[in-house]
């Protein structure tokens, strides 16, 4: 196997590993109204792995970004409840986004 072929094989293996990882972890999120005008959202993956540092957004129904941050080491974020309808977005990458609408967030 020459250098070019070796490089191709390495790229293929990396892609394969990344694909398996991407498929094995389904992103999940839960949000709850704290009853004190704030909302806490927790992100995670279906295999139980942490979502600390993963991107998180709050967007209005008019697609305006109200909050753009990252989940903390506990995979959580607490934010002031926006006025009007909004969506919480756990953004674990392309095709790995979870949306929860404010009407589905309970105390």
């Amino acid at each position: 196997m020459n250098l070019k072929e070796r490089h191709k094989m390495k790229s293929f293996l990396i892609t394969l590993i990344f694909t398996i990882t991407a498929f094995a972890h389904t992103p999940i999120m839960s949000c709850m109204d704290e009853g004190d005008d704030t909302v806490t959202c927790e992100g995670g993956f279906s295999d139980g792995s942490s979502a600390g540092g993963v991107k998180f957004r709050v967007i209005s129904n008019e697609k305006k970004v109200i909050l753009d941050t990252k989940l903390n080491t506990e995979s959580e974020v607490n934010f002031k409840k926006p006025e009007g309808e909004y969506s919480a977005v756990f953004d674990a990458g392309p095709q790995h986004e979870v949306y929860i609408k404010s009407k589905d967030i309970f105390e």
């Binding site: 389904t26 839960s30 709850m32 995670g44 279906s46 295999d47 309970f106």
Partner: protein, 282 residues
Amino acid sequence: MKFKNLLCIGLLSSTLFAQSQLMYTPEMTLNTGKSINLVHVQMHPYTNLKTYDMGTQHKGDQRLEPEEFYVMHKTIKTDLKDTLKPIVFTGKNEAKSYTSKYKAKKMGDHLFVMKPAPSFSEVEGIYLQMITKMFVNVAGKPTDWDKELGLEAEIIPLSKPYGIWAGSSFSGMVKASGIPVPFAHIEVELLNYDIDMENNKTTNMKTNAPQQSFKVIEFKANERGEFTFHIPKEGLWSFNAKGIGHNKKFKGRELSQDAVIWVQSKNIKEIEKLNKEKKETK
């Protein structure tokens, strides 16, 4: 005539023996965190034949409060005994029971354990203590469903006790204080009535069994205390491993320490129908 009476008493007694400890909340799988209500009732889940005062004692001794009620989440134990509120629950008759509220906020499994005080059964002439486990999962993250707690009487799930399609199965292992119970006698019952949590009563009977054997399904675990049961219908199912605890006496009388676990199954066709209805209304 005497023989007929004896037979009737025999049949009635075997039905009366099949008690379980209900720990009810309508939904064991939540899409997102929320506050939930629970109701705790000593009853017959299938027949609703009789509802019992929890913690009732022999010959009118003072009724005892539950010994323990707690939840495990990510292996952290939180005492919930203070959340228990005495109520009168109406099944076939009225009985002293409890409700409680819980904030199922964090993602993952919330494993509830109710250890009621031993309750005297007039029919059997013994004390019953049904140590009960029930799960609520938030958002689908698996955390505690397979945890062994080392209870005096316990069924440890080998498959998830929720997220079960009707027609699929549930597997578990019967243990007493951490030791497997070979050939444990297990009774399975469908919760055959809706529970009206606003008025604390049973409503709408769901199925009508053709004969006693279908009301309380009995089988035995294998030599390692393991079992698998194929769940034929959607609903909440009680698995009760009878008399497995090592404590055999309470107040000088026979004690049966049972392990109860509740599992929930869903009908895939019903969910397809609901999704279709949702799409149509959008």
